[in-house]
């Protein structure tokens, strides 16, 4: 017997999905033995054995369908010619994939397909990239006996309504791959097959145009289509790509891997990477399509300076811009002291870019006044998880959710803000996992096709901690604590203190129902569901952190997970869904003013001496200023200059008027970004940044996965961002001589225990790794705290509920909360410069029908939204997604300026702004314009 063969399967479409099984079966494929997990299809086994069986309706991202009749095989001892995609392997099975009978059958079927397909291969946009064309060749079709004069679909027409892809019905073979991708992979169920028999056709939402349908433009259907039916507009316009570069998306914290496909130096399309650990071949509308901003006409690619913010910008050479900034920075420090300067790192930049900025601030400027935009999103995660578990990171990999029995989503809207993970979550929910949603708003997950929350705890904004305390009270008093886990894994003294606290009557659901707006019955039901499942997992977002008790809430979730033993294995955990692609990395890299990389406090002598020795400079042991404190100090005249890497604080930070006053008060504001933005209105130096397509480095996503970002095209400005930072550092008297981004990562690894094993070489070999990656875990750590917590024993922290100062009043009777929408991203600097604006051209205010009626507001009316911080105007959208007394909007557009109305309330421990609770009043407004 021949030896089983080994095949590199990375780039093959194996036809049907992987099946996991404890047992294997061995089959003979055309005489070649192959051992596969039980349940594997004959088609997949054949592919693994090196034999590609012709197929059209099968692809390994979708369950077998068995409709195209192209993959027929003969099996010894069986009658007929079964479809190999739907036939599972059995031990000892002998399969023939090529026989005269099979050839004849396949040719006959293919002939029928081609008889109703345009014969325009040479001019077709998919020429050279078409499975129908390839398969026709593979089966040896040479002629078609049927006349095209008969009934056909050749004039079926094209739907070009979607800005990114078109649907040419004349080329559709009704294989249903698009329909199945929409349901199985994306979970939207926007597509169906309408009609029967010859009239069957792909139909978006009951025969709508794609743009008008429920389609979310994730691209899964385009990816799945085996013909030119669903085709990217860019491919139609430019042609089939000729080279590929693997890289990582620049949008949310899912951090999807993509293959950038180019013709020469022109990017044609971004295709989700099947091997990507975070996304496994799936994508969303932003990552897949909304990257055109990188070449938008608004891009600034030449450095600019100006003496004052009232002057015109003057384009200059790099050397002049760097010298200008350095001169001003030196002058400020001479006059106002070392600590009159600081810097902000960006979660949209690579680990390497972030690392050099914080290094420049600490080593060249000599201050710890460095902070990061995570201050305004997940700084409470850093605080809360460090206190309880010992490190600031989500506990799981994304794949873990497939093992969850209960999924608790708190203050997050995964289908909009983390859509690829949202799809993964929905898949698990369709398989039967229970869903608990804690959110004032009825997010999509609460009720969407084939997904329904078991409980929706529609709480009052600002009462998260009260809700978690009530859940924990039930768990503790009902005897649902995992006593064995707590005894073995947790600090028992802190647990005892927590238990005494949480069992107090004031924490009971009955006591807190009125405060939270959630009935005691619902709270008790949710607690039972969470505590009594095999595996319960918590996923949370900014609806947790952006509160006055954001850090307390993070610790409350950690308490809940530890008390029920839901930590340290697949399917459980506490998982922050990070807002931007490199929030985790920016925090890991030492961007906070009190920490070096790896979350070591600057007062830790051993850590400081380590950095000091390698950097060759003395370092301060006192914490620096956080962003809000920098802004305060600027208004007071003590803080005079700042280096802002890729963050538009004038739009993204709360109380815009205060931010602008602070920026205006500074003598030198240096902005490093792609576009002139709200912040650059107050800048003296503009240093052009690089888009993700021009970067070389790494991003670390929400599951601690370190992914390579590879340059797809050269930097439009001529320099990488880390080179610019190094140039400024050198001009300030502290040269940083790196030859490449890889060398920067080597230094990070040398100084950061959790990154000790990380290198570009390792990442290129493995694709990605999840930190900690070191001697104990040379290929990374998908699940944290498996045997012990990073801090040793898990620490329970008591979490008294303290109501926010921001309460509804007679003057401001409604509570405003904010969030994101699928098609836009944060302040919109990227997505507003793409066709995504077709879905969301402006921020709108969602208001409950009763609140609208009370104020005489009709659907689509302009309204004035005012708070004690300021006022703005936007259109009203009357919606039952939010309860009466609460209004909701997004913050993607500078015109509406949502943060004009958010206040300077913040988390008690980290100063993360309380974006999620602002008391407001709504009044009808004649127009978008402010009254004169």
């Amino acid at each position: 017997m021949n030896k089983p063969i080994e095949v590199d399967i990375a780039d093959l479409d194996l036809g049907t999905p992987l099946r996991l099984s404890d047992s294997t079966v061995t089959v003979l494929i055309d005489g070649t033995p192959i051992a596969v997990p039980a349940g594997t299809s004959v088609m997949r086994a054949a592919s693994l054995a090196g034999t590609q069986i012709p197929k059209l309706c099968a692809t390994d991202s979708l369950d077998a369908f068995g409709s195209c009749r192209m993959c027929l095989v003969e099996i010894e001892g069986r009658k007929g010619t079964p479809a190999s995609c739907t036939t599972p392997c059995e031990d000892g099975m002998s399969v023939k994939t090529q026989t005269p009978r099979l050839d004849k059958l396949r040719k006959g079927v293919m002939e029928l397909y081609i008889s109703d397909h345009p014969l325009d291969c040479l001019t077709c946009s998919a020429n050279g990239d078409c499975e129908l064309q390839d398969t026709a060749g593979a089966v040896g079709l040479r002629s078609v006996r049927y006349s095209p004069a008969g009934a056909n679909h050749l004039d079926a027409g094209t739907d070009s309504s979607n800005p990114y892809f078109s649907f040419d019905a004349s080329k559709c073979i009704v294989c249903s791959r698009c329909v199945r991708a929409c349901s199985e992979v994306q979970g939207t169920f926007a597509l169906t097959i309408a009609g029967r028999g010859f009239d069957s056709k792909v139909s978006p939402s009951e025969e709508n145009a794609f743009l008008d349908s429920e389609c979310v433009s994730c691209g899964a259907c385009v990816q799945a289509c085996p013909t030119a039916t669903l085709q990217e507009t860019r491919v139609i316009d430019l042609g089939v790509p000729t080279r590929k570069v693997k890289t990582t998306c620049a949008y949310c914290g899912v951090g999807c891997s993509f293959v950038a496909e180019l013709r020469g130096d022109e990017l044609v399309r971004m295709v989700p990477d099947k091997q990507g650990g975070a996304n496994e071949g799936h994508s969303c509308v932003k990552g897949r399509f909304a990257w055109g901003y990188a070449t938008h006409a608004d891009r600034i690619t030449q450095p600019m300076i100006r003496d004052s913010i009232d002057s015109e910008w003057r384009p200059v050479e790099w050397s002049e811009a760097i010298a200008f900034a350095a001169d001003r920075f030196r002058a400020i420090q001479k006059q106002y002291g070392i600590d009159a300067l600081g810097g902000i790192t960006s979660s949209r930049c690579t680990n390497e870019e972030v690392y050099v900025v914080q290094k420049m601030v600490r080593a060249a400027l000599g201050t710890n006044n460095v902070d990061t935009c995570a201050r305004v999103c997940h700084s409470p995660t850093g605080y809360g998880l460090k206190q309880t578990f010992g490190t600031s990171a989500g506990t799981q990999d994304f794949a873990s959710v497939q093992k969850s029995d209960v999924i608790m989503v708190i203050g997050a809207n995964p289908t909009d803000a983390h859509p690829v993970f949202g799809s993964r979550m929905k898949r698990r929910l369709r398989q039967g996992a229970k869903l608990l949603v804690i959110d004032p708003r009825s997010i999509d997950l609460v009720r969407s096709p084939h997904v329904k929350a078991t409980e929706h705890l529609q709480l009052q904004p600002g009462t998260n901690v009260a809700v978690l305390n009530a859940l924990a009270h039930v768990i503790a008093t009902e005897g649902w604590v995992d006593e064995a886990f707590v005894a073995e894994r947790c600090d028992t003294a802190s647990f005892a203190a927590w238990r005494r606290f949480i069992e107090l009557p004031e924490n009971s659901p009955e006591s807190l129902a009125e405060v939270t707006g959630v009935s005691a019955e619902t709270l008790r039901s949710a607690a039972a569901i969470y505590a009594q499942a095999g595996n319960s997992a918590i996923y949370y977002g900014l609806g947790v952190t952006e509160h006055s008790q954001g850090s307390t809430m993070v610790m409350a979730m950690a308490n809940l997970a530890m008390a029920t033993g839901n930590i340290g294995r697949d399917g459980v955990g506490v998982n922050p869904l990070r807002g931007q692609n490199n929030v985790q990395g920016a925090c890991d890299m030492g961007s906070f003013p009190h920490e070096f990389s790896g979350y070591r406090h600057v007062s830790d002598d051993a850590a400081r001496e380590l950095f000091s020795a390698l950097w060759g400079v003395g370092l301060r042991k006192d914490p620096g200023l956080r962003i809000p404190n920098m802004l305060d100090a600027a208004v007071s005249g003590q803080f005079r200059g700042i280096y802002i890497q890729g963050e538009d604080i004038a739009q993204s930070d709360p109380n815009s008027q205060h931010v602008e006053a602070a920026l205006k008060a500074m003598d030198c504001v240096v902005v490093q970004d792609l576009f002139l933005n709200e912040t650059s209105k107050y800048a003296h130096v503009f240093l052009p940044g690089t888009s993700f397509l021009e970067k070389d480095g790494t991003f670390t996503n929400a599951e601690r996965r370190i992914n390579r970002v590879r340059p797809v095209v050269p930097p439009a400005s001529g320099l990488s961002e880390w080179q610019v930072t190094c140039a400024l550092s050198a001009a300030m008297g502290y040269p940083m001589d790196y030859a490449s981004a890889s060398e920067i990562m080597d230094e990070i690894a040398a100084l950061t225990p959790t990154f000790k094993g990380v290198s570009f070489e390792l990442l290129d070999a493995l694709g990605s790794v999840q930190w900690p990656c070191n001697e104990q875990a040379p290929e990374g750590t998908p699940i944290m705290h498996a045997q012990r917590f990073v801090r040793g024993q898990g620490q329970f922290v008591t979490t008294p509920y303290v109501p926010t100062d921001e309460r509804s009043t007679r003057k401001f009777p409604l509570l405003l909360t904010t969030g994101r929408i699928l098609s836009q991203y944060n302040v919109g600097a990227q997505t507003r410069r793409t066709a995504n604006s077709v879905w969301h051209a402006e921020d709108i205010l969602e208001i409950h029908e009763s609140d609208a009626e009370l104020r005489g507001v009709a659907q689509g009316d302009w309204v004035e939204v005012s708070s004690r911080a300021g006022s703005t105007r936007m259109r009203a959208h009357i919606s039952d997604d939010i309860p009466a007394g609460v209004v909701y909007t997004t913050f993607h557009h500078p015109v509406s300026g949502t943060n004009v109305i958010t206040t300077d309330n913040s988390d008690w421990a980290t100063n993360c702004p309380e974006y999620k609770v602002t008391a407001v009043q709504i009044r009808p407004s004649a127009s978008a314009a402010a009254p004169a």
Binding site: D339, N368, A497, S548, Q549, T552, M555, P593, H594, H601, S603, D622, P623, G624, L625, R626, P628, N629, D632, A633, V635, S636, Q638, H658, V797, T798, T799, P800, V802, D904, S906, W908, A909, T910, N911
Partner: protein, 76 residues
């Protein structure tokens, strides 16, 4: 004496810390631990001065914390 925006913010921050630290025992110690880990020396000094100038606007636990802070600074 009128407090400027920065001073008002410091007061708000420290009073908020006093209300939110996890344990109701040794609140002053927890405040000191927090501000020494996360605040700059200048912020701590400014707060101390506010405590002297306008003690009435700080929570009682903050006064105890400032006393502790002064002791630890003097001992450093």
């Amino acid at each position: 004496m009128m407090l400027d925006y920065t001073q008002q913010h410091l007061v708000k921050m420290v009073n908020q810390i006093a209300s939110n630290v996890p344990l109701r025992e040794d609140v002053a110690g927890q405040i000191v631990d927090h501000v020494t880990r996360f605040w700059t020396p200048t912020m701590c000094a400014d707060l101390t001065q506010i405590g002297r100038d306008q003690p009435e606007i700080l929570a009682a636990e903050v006064h105890a914390a400032l006393a502790l802070l002064e002791t630890s600074t003097a001992g450093a």
